[in-house]
Symmetry: C2
Subunit: 491 residues, 2 copies
């Protein structure tokens, strides 16, 4: 009997190399997953597991029978329930909306082709509308460190099952922060790729022009390894794309290692002292990595965020599920319904005016970020209780997105990582942000920083392994010290 709790991809790989079998480990794992756990909307039953193992065997056979050729061979994962995975209904956390997908989402198909096994579908703020994890008929998902505190959302269940070490990684989605806020609140890595890098085919749209699939993992290495499987052009998704960082423009959009990070000036705090204290402690360690932190007024970024929350982009949600809302509005969560129905206040002229305003703000942002390579922000500036969110569902939700909302509108990539704990024991996370296609530079820097911080893995008690980093050629010059040996030349 193995305890796979908190295993990283490497742990799973080693176990299989040493002779463990998927038909041994995965049933044991599923036996530890509770059907009444609100993090799950659906779990593999015996038939589903048999089917999954049969498919895995077929995939292995196609790979010549060599598990080493399947980078995710036999690795269990969870998938947010707005992403299609054959055999499970896709609910988007709305049972009346549910449909039975006839094929996997492109991202799920890619994971399976690499040997991964989807063991269940996870809860979310309905239609991925929220950053709290409470807006679901399947129940509010609790924080993995405190049952009274929110998990964050909308990818609440995916974050919860990874943080508790049930699976080494899970897929989420991230339009306004849904892949980062729950990572920050549960001591996880949350990878929000460059928009278009992962296909959205087979994902229920939120705001189609902004949506991303995201990855939750316990380590940067694991998030990067999964990301490497998911990247690639999909002809069936018109927002899918490939690219490289621009050769000109502001530093934040140019290729190269990250040396200067803008951090938000103090006037952006929201009065949560425990979070502010944790943030300030987390700032101590960047200079040792050769990183200069530059405090900056984030006003144009926050104006861009407001545009997303108060502007016409909500109509993309309406474009996606407006027909369902009209037919079966009573089956939609009232907060979610109120938000999506607010789309009707915007006409086409207002939409174009908001798009012009976005362009104006992007110019101001690029000017402000001309000399920094990225941003460093607290992932979530508050950590409210479920009760507080239920009492004031809109204000706290909006505050949670302070440092996440602007990212997709600005065409940035982001990587949320653990960054210590607040005095009350809740985890604190920070997010590294940079221009499109600079994902690897973020991963390199995050790996270096985490290697200096012996934080536990998620909500488990497992120690953090050293990160190897995605690509050492993008590493910023390390300062002399820890990793160098002083050689005395005696002449």
């Amino acid at each position: 009997m193995f305890d796979t709790s908190g295993w990283t991809l490497n742990d799973w790989r080693v176990a299989y190399q040493q002779g463990a079998q998927p038909d041994e480990l995965l049933p044991q794992l599923l036996a530890r997953c509770a059907a009444d756990d609100p993090a799950w909307i659906a779990l593999l039953d015996q038939d589903g597991l048999d089917q999954a193992l049969t498919e895995l065997a077929a995939t292995l056979a196609q790979a010549g029978g060599d598990p080493a050729r399947l980078p995710l061979y036999g690795v269990p994962c969870a998938v947010k329930d707005n992403i299609d995975a054959r055999g499970f209904p896709t609910t988007a956390a709305c049972p009346e909306f549910a449909y039975q997908p006839t094929e996997d989402a492109t991202v799920v198909a890619k994971l399976k082709a690499a040997g991964a096994v989807v063991i269940g579908k996870t809860n979310l703020d309905q239609f991925a509308t929220g950053l709290v994890g409470t807006r679901s008929p399947y129940g509010a998902v609790a924080n993995t460190f405190d049952p009274e505190v929110i998990s964050g959302g909308s990818s609440s269940g995916s974050a919860s099952v990874v943080a508790r070490g049930l699976v080494p990684f899970a897929l989420g989605t991230d339009t306004a922060g849904s892949g980062r806020v729950p990572a920050g609140l549960n001591n996880l890595v949350g990878l929000k790729p460059t928009r278009g890098a992962f296909s959205m085919t087979g994902v229920v749209p939120a705001c189609r022009s902004l949506d991303c699939v995201s990855v939750f993992a316990l380590t940067v290495d694991d998030a990067a390894a999964v990301s490497a499987r998911l990247t690639g052009l999909d002809d069936r998704d018109v927002f899918s794309r490939t690219g490289t960082a621009a050769g000109d423009g502001p530093a934040i959009r140019r290729p190269g290692p990250i040396r200067r990070l803008a951090i938000p000036a103090p006037h952006h705090w929201l009065g949560d002292d425990a979070t502010v204290a944790a943030w300030q402690r987390s700032l101590a360690d960047w200079p040792q990595l050769g990183i200069e932190l530059v405090p900056m007024a984030f006003d144009p970024l926050l104006e861009l965020a407001e545009l997303l929350y108060q502007g016409p982009w909500v109509a993309e949600r309406h474009a996606a599920i407006g027909d369902f809302l009209q037919q079966q509005g009573e089956s939609v969560h009232p907060v979610v319904r109120g938000i999506i129905e607010s789309a009707s206040q915007f006409d086409a002229s207002a939409t174009f005016r908001a798009q012009y305003r976005r362009e104006e703000l992007l110019r101001r942002i690029d000017q402000a970020l001309a000399d920094v390579d990225g941003l460093l922000v607290p992932t979530a500036p508050i950590a409210p209780t479920i009760a507080a969110v239920q009492a004031d569902p809109l204000t706290l939700n909006s505050q949670l997105g302070t440092f996440t909302n602007f990212v997709n509108l600005a065409d940035f990539c982001a990587l949320a990582i653990p960054a210590g704990f607040r005095e009350d024991g809740l985890p604190f996370g920070v997010t590294l942000i940079s221009g499109a296609w600079k994902d690897q530079a973020l991963q390199t820097l995050a790996s270096q920083w985490l290697n200096r911080h012996p934080l536990p893995l998620g909500a488990t008690d497992r120690p953090r392994p050293l990160e190897t980093g995605p690509d050492s050629s993008q590493t910023a010059s390390p300062e002399p010290g820890d990793d160098t040996i002083t050689v005395a030349v005696v002449g």
Copy 2:
């Protein structure tokens, strides 16, 4: 007394080199411009001329007194009356909308800095809404070859005054074809640059996300020379940009010379036999330049064009002048008013859905154009009379844009050039189209083609000078023949 009629930039340059003076030539020119000519909305009066000559003297002094340092020294030009030029009210062909600009549009300022003199503002389809040249309270502008036929629009007046040789070049604007259709119908060159290459600061918006300033000239060389003065980033215009052709993607968007051109398959004809015959005659000469013509179904391009005409982009016009329309709707041309008010049928959801559709069509277009370097199309597929357009103002207008409407939505640049005459004596034009930032490749090819065609300049009786081309390094390999000398090596 000089007759400057039909002078190219070179003719003006030579005249000044030989001792002519602006205060001699320009008053003579203005004396030949009739205030009741519907092509003009305003002309310099004596005070305005004195002021312009004083400013030109100051510009010359700043250039060290050397006219050779001002590439447009003393050259008269006309400016479409939706573009600000100090000293003239900007009317957009709506007297009640008129305002007195306090500064020049960026493009006008750049022309003046190069020594050009704006001698007047030209008529247009009101608010640049139309491709006909009839929708103006200042009168319908007639075709320069037949007073019963439309000039085309919306840049009707600019095309008319260049075709008649009053000025060597004029500025227009081009959102859906307004800089090309009137060039085609008046035997002119119409340069529609890559979107964002010329600043829109100081131009009354039509569809801000698509609008371009355009150039009318008698020759490609002159259009290219003016274009070279206008290109450049403007921090005050958020749609202003710089760039180069993409290194990957379909051939039409990649850099390099043009060798294969898609031409519309015959099912796209609109039943105008005279135009079809002229088009077929014009196709004969491309192979001699090493160009392969590839007939192709243009359906996805025409679907994109329909999206512009029948979709929510009309709301950009509403965003620009909706407030004026609400307050003084009765002062707006009824056809223009009807078009702009149709914006109210589109809400934000419909706008986003249309934008998704645009992305889908762009993918299909890029697939269809993966192996061609550009498009060759008739500039205007019909040449209707003013009376016919007035009897059916929408259908014929829409037909006129068949091969122009899609260009800005697809992020293409375009160059309309003269291409012969129809049997009834009306001019026929073709347009070369390619991906963003490939303007020079179009100019090179157009120069080569025109050098084989001894067409008159506009509606003047002046012969066409040889084009020198913008950049010989981008020239497609000429076939052996005309320009090579066979050398017999006797051994």
